[in-house]
């Protein structure tokens, strides 16, 4: 197997694992969202990288060009990015309200406050 030849996959896998790790390991709600963003970004790469042909151009028919990159992954990922942005925005909005309600964005502190029934600021 050609390890170096698959470098885009290595990057993808690295981003995937790193993002997932951040989501799981961090207690800060914002950092979790950042991790989630990295995790999603790896998917963008996973889709787009194979769609590129070396020497290919944008798929607009013009004289002098014979090879085109596959446009479909781009379209898909454009959608996925929009979804990702929406998720991020919603996540942040919820975090803002959590901060207002609990006075903290650290997971352990929030759970602690829920247990003791203590009010936020």
């Amino acid at each position: 197997m050609n390890f170096a030849g698959h470098y885009s996959y290595w990057i993808t896998v690295f981003l995937m694992i790193a993002g997932l790790y951040v989501v799981i390991a961090r207690g800060n709600l914002i950092k979790k969202l950042i991790g989630l963003g990295i995790f999603q970004t790896s998917v963008y790469l996973l889709y787009i990288a194979p769609g590129k042909l070396i020497g290919g151009t944008a798929p607009i028919i013009a004289s002098g060009f014979g090879t085109y990159s596959n446009p479909l992954p781009h379209v898909l990922i454009l959608t996925a990015i929009v979804v990702g942005v929406a998720t991020l925005a919603l996540g942040l909005a919820i975090v803002v309200r959590i901060h207002e309600a609990y006075g903290s964005i650290e997971e352990d502190e929030i759970l602690d406050r829920d247990l003791t029934g203590q009010e936020g600021r």
Partner: protein, 143 residues
């Protein structure tokens, strides 16, 4: 910041051109990089620039919250409306071919309106997000 004269003048000068550029990007989307997404974001960027320079209340006077929400909804409705138009003209949902007597023109017509809807919604959403996050802060300050 609000009293910075240079910024205010530059901003007033710049914003029309930003909006114009947005329109260029919007209509160039047919045959080059561009389209509703990008144009919508640029429009929103212009508004956000305005809000940063002149303050949130001023921006809200110009584009009120209600209008922003209406933009979000209207854009989606335009998009869906194109689809329904396809239905009414005898094609499938989102069928652009039937929008004009010449199928190729129908495609262009369809994508034009769809991109317009996208631009409206995207700029609305971007503004809405900005208003929400920025608004919280000033609400908190007022309180």
């Amino acid at each position: 910041m609000r009293s910075d004269l240079v910024l205010r003048v530059i901003a007033k000068l710049l914003i029309p051109f930003v909006l114009l550029f947005a329109l260029y990007v919007q209509f160039h989307g047919d045959f080059g990089p561009g389209g509703g997404f990008q144009a919508g974001v640029i429009i929103a960027a212009a508004m956000i620039f305005y809000a940063i320079v002149f303050g949130l209340p001023a921006a809200r006077r110009m584009v009120p919250d209600r209008a922003v929400e209406a933009m979000v909804a209207a854009g989606v409705l335009i998009y869906a409306g194109v689809g329904v138009a396809g239905l009414l003209l005898g094609g499938n949902y989102l069928d652009y071919f039937v929008l004009d007597r010449v199928p190729a023109h129908g495609q262009e017509r369809g994508i034009f309106w769809v991109e317009a809807g996208v631009a409206v919604t995207v700029s609305g959403v971007m503004l809405k997000i900005f208003y929400m996050f920025a608004g919280r802060r000033s609400d908190a300050d007022d309180a």
